[in-house]
Subunit: 208 residues, 2 copies
């Protein structure tokens, strides 16, 4: 059997594999309900994908395109999956500038990237969660992280920090605005970054 080994020989740190400034999100929605399948598929089918490249398989969903378009579509998928009383987790990786990336699988419509905004702006609910930021190939990455964390404290959506992550809390809309600010800020300072976050809604109260 032939094995398709990987070889990243053409990759160089600091040189994004895509020259087109493609931002990507790979995410999972996990509604903790017996109806999870219809909730997930219903939400991802409701998102207007005209401004992103999208692919869903059994492992996760990927959106690729302009930064504003990717955040607009990702936020829409999460908001559309919200059901009153249903505990749900969104886990997402945001990435830009990977040396292994390529100029493929994208949509880069320059006009009106926030095509879901009009329908989603009225949907809002409390979330808690966490995020971690990985600016790659940069020697000054802790300073970059501190800058965006402090902005989150000013906005009131960074609620603390723990091992391996910074805690988030607030309205879904405010937290998404902040996460987009994080990507935008870090993406303009380092050539390759990853932002990893987890958001929960309808979290059961009480002791654990």
């Amino acid at each position: 059997m032939q094995k398709n080994y990987v070889n990243y020989g053409n990759c160089s740190v600091g040189k994004p594999g895509s020259t087109l400034e493609i931002t990507g999100a790979r995410f999972n929605l996990s509604p903790m309900s017996d109806d999870f399948k219809s909730i997930i598929l219903g939400a991802i089918k409701q998102v207007d994908l005209s401004k992103v490249w999208a692919e869903t398989d059994h492992i996760s969903t990927v959106y690729r395109g302009k930064e504003e378009a990717v955040f607009d579509a990702l936020k829409a998928a999460f908001l559309y999956a919200y059901k009153e009383g249903v505990h749900m987790t969104l886990e997402s990786t945001i990435s830009k500038g990977c040396p292994g990336d390529t100029d493929s699988d994208y949509t880069l419509e320059l006009d009106d990237p926030r095509v879901n905004q009009a329908e989603t702006e009225a949907i809002d609910f409390p979330v808690i969660g966490k995020f971690a930021l990985y600016p790659m190939g940069s020697d000054n990455y802790m300073a970059t992280i501190a800058k965006v964390v402090n902005e989150g404290i000013d906005r009131g959506v960074v609620t603390g920090s723990g091992h391996y992550g910074t805690n988030l809390g607030g309205s879904a809309q405010d937290v998404f605005d902040y996460l987009e600010y994080v990507s935008h800020t870090v993406g303009s300072e380092v050539s390759h970054y990853i932002s990893q976050f987890t958001l929960h809604c309808n979290v059961p109260e009480g002791d654990i």
Copy 2:
């Protein structure tokens, strides 16, 4: 109101904040069932935590300690949460060597770190998922990633790759063994790494 801004002034790349080689996992179990609460809490209460420092809050659970002990406890939490027919996702961050880490909140029992092994080794089931590896502050990080991905291809647990991640598949035990190999290998080559993975069990079949 006083704001507790962060300042990572004492952190230096390549100098782990902890001198004790502490490995950590921050994870979420998401059983997609109306019984999610009892499944999650039942599993995390069943894990023998005598060899790790552990903390669960409403956002996630953290284990810290010796690498073998952390993987042993994390695997146990996932295996104990398995219920026949219940689709579940485990999302976990593994990290070691963060410049912002400290020599606190850990257990480093040197004898018998795999204290859950005897009870968990008989539990196994198919999983699919993905992982991504972030060796920080290293200029040669793509070579490190290629090395461990190719080992996964040899083991048969790396099933492909996509944007922002490498796909995993196989038995839960084999995939966990591989993820521990990844951490161990990368942890001995770079001073700070993060491994981020998502595993699914009981994935619905059919078209999406």
